[in-house]
Symmetry: C2
Subunit: 204 residues, 2 copies
């Protein structure tokens, strides 16, 4: 109803939004996606549930926005104002730097617990899964597409390589080890993935 | 109690075991892992729940055994008596053949629904997840380790390549697309993964 909110109202809204995001991420990490409710998020955030429904149609939307915000905050904290991957001209070094930062994120419990709960629900709840991929995962993967495309133009990647498939050679192994605990993750590990992917397993 | 069961008892046991496996896979695919119970499996299989507890300590064990059995049945149906990967001397062709068969399996709803439900639960239930990986996933990955090690000895893979990491370049992308619906899966797709992994993204 308030088309031009007073500065005080904007500050109050911003504070509520932050509290709601924090409550949603904490709850889904602690009790899982299925048991997290809009009522529970509202209670923990100290707001009425109508405040949540005014901004988001359902809990999935709150969580996805909270996650997007978490990613943006992490990027700002790391001094990355732009969402693009670094391009120093050295493709291997750039990919290794980004994947090392991703390893650090996966090893941070504040990220791990809610991300894992949301990913798990996305496997069995197809509607949420598709939103999770479209809103969260795919935009991140497109940054690799852009970097690989630039590398292809610079001659560092073979001209016939499809960047959308190529990125999976180093991104998917890390994602699987993280999600399914199929092996330890470390900077050495992701460095190795980049080397294998760029230079191949067969002798040159 | 019966140390040397009569042939009739053995046949009855085998029939019950099959019925229990089928019931467990059907239920977890239909209602998910959390809502599947030993009681529910027993009722659907037409056996008493004590029959299940005589053989397995918990529902996780029933499901993992049912899955292992499903894999063995699929291998027998495909005429693969041995669990080893083919070794025709052509590494790319052998990997492509196995990954094409895996794509077919992932596209089969009888496999997809229970596998997805179990994988999802494994993401949030760490104990089940570790058993799922140790009993089901890792033995399959070890077949790739063996094949890549043979290829390394034959000079088709660089001597410094770690087979346990290398296999993830083609296995993990397929697993992620299947589990998270991050892209379509097909024989063309897995063929491309093998080519990229073996020959690298950088120009030769």
């Amino acid at each position: 109803m308030v088309k031009n909110p007073a500065p005080d109202a904007t500050r109050r809204s911003e504070k509520s939004r932050r509290a709601i995001y924090a409550a949603a991420l904490a709850l889904v990490g602690e009790i899982g996606y299925p048991r997290t409710t809009v009522e529970g998020i509202a209670a923990r955030a100290g707001v009425g549930k109508q405040t949540i429904y005014r901004w988001w149609p359902a809990k999935a939307d709150v969580l996805l926005e909270a996650f997007l915000d978490l990613g943006e905050q992490a990027a700002r904290a790391a001094g990355q104002e732009t969402p693009a991957l670094p391009d120093t001209g050295d493709l291997a070094a750039d990919l290794k730097a980004v994947l090392r930062a991703t390893v650090d994120e996966f090893l941070d419990p504040r990220f791990d617990a809610p991300a894992r709960a949301l990913a798990a629900e996305g496997l069995v709840n197809e509607e949420l899964g598709r939103r999770y991929v479209a809103r969260l995962l795919e935009p991140q993967l497109q940054r690799y597409v852009d970097r690989l495309r630039a590398a292809r133009e610079a001659g560092a990647v073979r001209p016939d390589v499809d960047p959308r498939i190529a990125l999976e050679l180093f991104v998917s192994p890390l994602a699987q080890r993280w999600l399914q605990h199929t092996g330890p993750i470390s900077h050495d590990y992701t460095d190795t993935l980049v080397d294998y992917a760029l230079y191949g397993l067969a002798p040159r």
